[in-house]
Assembly symmetry: C2
Homo-oligomer: 203 residues x 2
């Protein structure tokens, strides 16, 4: 088994943090995304969407999409559970992971990709007006996050989950996206310090 890894981008980091939380060590194949390595023939043959990360199993099966790769490892190594426990627990992790992806990670990455000059070849067509429109969306959703974290240790409840990983890589991507977290979101800020201090955050 090997994991084609894309370095600092949010999605490859999501999977590396997940593996660190599980205590798993999977052979990584580094791909230089800055040099467009994710559009090579090798990666394209594994993933026609030319995105990373990509997990290749020993039998030749290929899994793409970060959360799908994480779910594969959750099934093989259920402890610690990072997708929740019980029907309601699993549903709430799924809910928060998706809320964060759709209402925060997507606006943050869209702001970056549609306004940063280095992204002109990545995001075609680059539409700066759309990029700008995403900054207030991301900031607006921080109010929902802050309210949830006022009464909850982690974003989907008392236990750390994949939803916290998705939120961490998104918050850490605010800087390249040129979005500043307003000072008023003290619960979100407290959560960010706690989660950043977990050893997995260095992955």
């Amino acid at each position: 088994m090997k994991l084609y890894d894309g370095g600092r981008a949010p999605n490859p980091r999501r999977v590396r943090i997940f593996l660190a939380e599980k205590g798993l060590s999977i052979p990584l194949v580094p791909v230089d995304m800055a040099a467009m390595g994710h559009r090579s023939n090798e990666i394209t043959s594994l993933n026609p969407l030319q995105r990373l990360p990509v997990l290749e199993l020993d039998n030749g099966s290929v899994i793409t999409e970060s959360v799908a790769i994480c779910r594969y490892f959750e099934e093989l190594h259920p402890q610690p559970p990072l997708f929740g426990e019980g029907a309601l627990g699993k549903a709430l992790v799924e809910m928060w992971n998706r809320r964060v992806e759709l209402n925060f990670m997507a606006p943050v990455t869209s702001a970056f990709r549609h306004t940063h000059p280095a992204m002109v070849e990545w995001e075609v067509p680059q539409i700066p007006q759309w990029g700008e429109a995403n900054r207030p969306k991301a900031i607006g959703f921080m109010a929902v996050l802050d309210e949830q974290l006022a009464t909850s240790a982690f974003i989907a409840g008392d236990q750390f989950s994949i939803a916290d990983i998705t939120l961490l890589v998104s918050v850490d991507f605010l800087k390249p996206a040129k979005i500043v977290m307003p000072e008023e979101f003290v619960n979100l800020k407290r959560w960010h310090e706690v989660v950043s201090n977990r050893p997995s955050a260095k992955a």
Copy 2:
């Protein structure tokens, strides 16, 4: 338990089709989205994101996000499995469901929301240039879908899954989004006829 339902929109329909495939009948509370019923105080108190569907359990717990609601029912009623079986099977359903959501459902709905005059109050700011940019993205991804369906009965393999439901509601939303499926995608067209003939498609 009750499901606040939003009528013809793709996400509410996703959950209704899922329930029909499971043979489950859940009390529905219709919400008139055309009259902005999803922004009422009642719905806002259940879901601050003001989106439908919303599942309210008898103990007061609330689950939002269509796939999270579906996962709750999958856990309670595993048969027939609609999220895949085994670690690899579950990962591949997750992969294809996400591929369809991110590369097809999102462009189709963005094209609609950013170009349709009736959506001006829904999508703020409405950016027609972004809406137009999404039409070729949706058409481009149909080539990936068509290639997969050349060798696979359903989108994630031999078994019908939630990924087929996501794809069905997205294909059926091409018309309001003013996107035409090119004639060349014969496998996608064949799949659409097969899936549209399942009784659940009427849900």
